[in-house]
C-alpha cells in the first residue's frame, strides 16, 4: 500500500517546566493518517491539545518527538529553508478571522504575498491569480483593494481560506474555522470548504469542538482527551457506536433538540465520570492486556478501522465488548 498524503506517528509536544510546575504534556503519542481528498475531524474539549496538535503538525510548534510525513517527506526537524518550501503543500486556516489578517494590508497584498514567496505564478500574473482566488471562495474580485476591516466575519474567513489556497496546497489544517462566526455564516463556510475539497482534492485536518459540524464534514473522526487520541474511526462508527466512555460523554453533552426531553435530562445530571490518566501504569488495562509488560501501544481495535485507547478509562466503566 502506498503511503498516505499525511502520516503522523507518535507525535508528542511537551512544554517545558515553569517555576516549579511539572512540564505540560500537551500532545502525547498522536498517530493517524489522512488520505488525499479526505477529512479527519479532530474533536475534544478545550485544553485537550487539539490546536497544539494542529500547530505541531504544521511545524509552527516544534514537536518534542515523533514523526510527521507529508507527501513522503519527513518534516519534523527539517531545516528552515526546505521547510518553508514545504509550506506550499500545507496551509492553515485559523479560528478568528478578525485577527488572522494583517490589518494594514489590502486584500490584494494579503493574497499576493504567498504567491510571491513561493514564486507560484510569474509576477505579471499575480493580479490575475488573486482575482481567480477571490472568485474561487465566492467573492467579488473588484473588492481586493479594500482593507480587512471593511469586511464581515464570514467574508474575512473567505479571504483567509483564499490565502491558504493561494499556493495550491494539498493539506489544510482548519483550526476551528467557523467557531468565531454566526450560525448561518458557519453553514456557508462549511459548505465552501466541502466544495473546495471536492474541486481541488484537498485533505483537511478539521479541528472543532462542535460535533455536529465535524459529523457533516469529516470522513474519519479522532477524539482527543488530555493530549491523547482516545478514539479514532470512521465518522459513522464513532458517532453511532462510540467505544470510549469519554466519546460517549462528549456525545451525550450535545443538547437534545426537544426542550421537554432536554429538561428531563438536565433534571437528573449524570455523574461526571472520572477520566484519570492511566499512562505508564502497570498491570492489565480495561481490555485485560498488560501494555507495560508486552511493550504494545495502549490501543485496541474494536472493529476494522475503529480503534480506541485504554487510557482515561474510568475504573467503574468496564469495556463493552
Amino acid at each position: 500500500m502506498s503511503e498516505p498524503l499525511l502520516r503522523v506517528r507518535d507525535l508528542c509536544v511537551t512544554f517545558p517546566a515553569r517555576r516549579g510546575r511539572p512540564p505540560v504534556r500537551a500532545v502525547e503519542h498522536l498517530s493517524f493518517d489522512i488520505a488525499a481528498g479526505q477529512t479527519l475531524g479532530l474533536v475534544g474539549e478545550s485544553g485537550s491539545g487539539k490546536t497544539t496538535a494542529g500547530r505541531a503538525i504544521l511545524q509552527l510548534q516544534p514537536p518534542s518527538s515523533g514523526s510527521v510525513r507529508l507527501l513522503g517527506s519527513e518534516i519534523v526537524g527539517m531545516r528552515s529553508a526546505p521547510l518553508r518550501a514545504m509550506r506550499r503543500h500545507m496551509q492553515l486556516v485559523q479560528q478568528n478571522p478578525y485577527s488572522s489578517l494583517h490589518p494594514r494590508m489590502t486584500v490584494a497584498r494579503i493574497l499576493a504575498e504567498p504567491l510571491a514567496v513561493h514564486r507560484s505564478v510569474p509576477p505579471r500574473q499575480i493580479a490575475e491569480r488573486v482575482a481567480e482566488l477571490m472568485t474561487l471562495v465566492g467573492m467579488d474580485p473588484s473588492v481586493v483593494h479594500r482593507y480587512p476591516h471593511e469586511f464581515s466575519g464570514g467574508q474575512r474567513q473567505r479571504i483567509v481560506i483564499a490565502r491558504a489556497l493561494a499556493v495550491n496546497p494539498d493539506f489544510v489544517v482548519c483550526d476551528e474555522p467557523v467557531s468565531a462566526l454566526d450560525v448561518r455564516t458557519q453553514a456557508q463556510i462549511v459548505e465552501l470548504l466541502q466544495r473546495l475539497q471536492e474541486r481541488l482534492r484537498l485533505s483537511y485536518l478539521f479541528i472543532a469542538h462542535d460535533l455536529a459540524i465535524v459529523r457533516a464534514v469529516a470522513h474519519r473522526v479522532a477524539v482527543m482527551y488530555g493530549g491523547r487520541i482516545v478514539e479514532l474511526g470512521d465518522a459513522a462508527q464513532v458517532y453511532q457506536t462510540p467505544a470510549h466512555p469519554y466519546t460517549r460523554n462528549l456525545l451525550d453533552a450535545v443538547p437534545l433538540p426537544d426542550p421537554a426531553r432536554q429538561r428531563d435530562r438536565l433534571a437528573q445530571p449524570a455523574e461526571e465520570p472520572d477520566f484519570r490518566g492511566h499512562a505508564g501504569r502497570v498491570g492489565p488495562c480495561v481490555f485485560g492486556k498488560d501494555h507495560a509488560a508486552t511493550d504494545t501501544p495502549a490501543w485496541h481495535e474494536v472493529s476494522p478501522g475503529h480503534g480506541v485507547s485504554c487510557c482515561f478509562w474510568p475504573p467503574e466503566n468496564p469495556a463493552r465488548r
Binding site: A85, Y98, L101
Partner: protein, 289 residues
C-alpha cells in the same frame, strides 16, 4: 486566543473614542505641524531671511530695540534677530539628525530584541541599559572632551544617548504583536522571519514610536542648547541658541532682549514637539502614558 482579542480591541478603540478628544487631538497636531513648518523654514532658509549677516560686528553694541534691529544688538554689535534666525539652523540640524539616527537605531535594535527574544534580547537590552544609566551631560562632556567639540561628535553623542528610550518603546509592542494570529498566519504561509518582522510586525508598533520620537525631539532641543550653553556645542563664531544665551547672560540687565530672544526660541522649538506628541498620542490612541 488572547493575542487576537487584543488585536480587535486596538483597531476598534479608535472609533469608540469620545469625538471631542479626537477633535482636540486634531487641532493639537495641526498646530504642532504648523509650528514645525516655521522651524523647518527657518532652518532651511535662515541666511536668506535674516536681515543682517549674523557674524558681522558693528560699533553699536548692546543697542536697545530699534526699527533697524528689532531685538537689538549683542555685546559686539551683531544683530540678535539675525543671529536667532541663523542660529536655529545649527540647533535644529543637530536635533533632527541626532533623533533620526537614534530612531533608526532604536527601530533596528528594538525590533531585533523584541522579535528574536532569548539571548539576543538579553544582550541588546543589557547594553542599552548601560547606555541608559549614563547621565546625558556626563556622557556628552566626556565624548566632546575626548574627541573635540565638532558637530559630528555632538550629533553622535546625542543619538547614542536617546537610542535606548526609543528601542524600548519599539520592543514593548513588538513583544505582543509577534504573538498575534496574523503573524502565525504569515509564518504558516512560508514567509521568512525577516520579512515577517519588517512587514507584519513593525507597521503595527509605529504609533507609540511616533509619539516617543516627538517627545525625544523636544528633549533633544533642550540637550543641544544646554550643551552649547556650556560651550560644548558647535564652535563660534557661527551662532546657535545655546551659546547666544551664554554670551548674553552677563549683559542681561543692560539688554534683556538678548536673553529673552534665544530663550523664547528654545521654548518655541521644544513646545512644537510637545504639542505634536500630545496631539499624536490622543489621535493614535496610545493608551500607555
Amino acid at each position: 486566543m488572547r493575542g487576537s482579542m487584543r488585536g480587535c480591541r486596538m483597531t476598534e478603540a479608535a472609533s469608540l473614542q469620545a469625538p471631542r478628544r479626537r477633535t482636540t487631538a486634531q487641532v493639537l497636531v495641526t498646530i504642532g505641524l504648523a509650528m514645525m513648518a516655521v522651524l523647518v523654514v527657518v532652518a532651511l532658509f535662515g541666511p536668506a531671511i535674516a536681515p543682517y549677516n549674523p557674524t558681522k560686528t558693528s560699533p553699536a553694541s548692546l543697542d536697545g530695540p530699534t526699527m533697524a534691529h528689532w531685538l537689538g544688538t549683542d555685546s559686539i554689535g551683531r544683530d540678535v534677530l539675525s543671529r536667532l534666525i541663523v542660529g536655529g539652523r545649527a540647533t535644529l540640524l543637530i536635533t533632527f539628525v541626532a533623533v533620526a539616527i537614534s530612531l533608526a537605531a532604536g527601530l533596528i535594535l528594538g525590533l531585533a530584541s523584541g522579535y528574536m527574544g532569548g539571548a539576543v534580547d538579553l544582550a541588546i537590552m543589557r547594553v542599552l541599559d548601560v547606555v541608559f544609566a549614563f547621565p546625558v551631560f556626563l556622557l556628552a562632556i566626556a565624548v566632546v572632551a575626548a574627541l573635540g567639540p565638532t558637530l559630528g561628535n555632538l550629533i553622535l553623542t546625542i543619538a547614542v544617548v536617546y537610542t535606548p528610550t526609543l528601542a524600548r518603546v519599539v520592543r514593548g509592542p513588538v513583544l505582543s504583536v509577534k504573538r498575534w494570529d496574523h503573524v502565525e498566519a504569515a509564518r504558516s504561509v512560508g514567509i521568512g522571519e525577516f520579512t515577517i518582522a519588517v512587514r507584519h510586525v513593525l507597521p503595527l508598533v509605529i504609533s507609540p514610536v511616533l509619539v516617543q520620537t516627538s517627545l525625544t525631539l523636544a528633549n533633544t532641543i533642550f540637550t543641544v542648547t544646554a550643551l552649547s550653553f556650556l560651550g560644548l556645542g558647535p564652535p563660534p563664531p557661527d551662532p546657535n541658541w545655546g551659546s547666544m544665551l551664554a554670551e548674553a547672560r552677563q549683559f542681561m540687565e543692560l539688554a534683556p532682549l538678548t536673553v529673552i530672544g534665544p530663550s523664547l526660541a528654545i521654548v518655541f522649538a521644544s513646545l512644537t514637539f510637545i504639542v505634536l506628541a500630545n496631539g499624536l498620542r490622543d489621535l493614535l490612541d496610545v493608551t500607555a502614558r
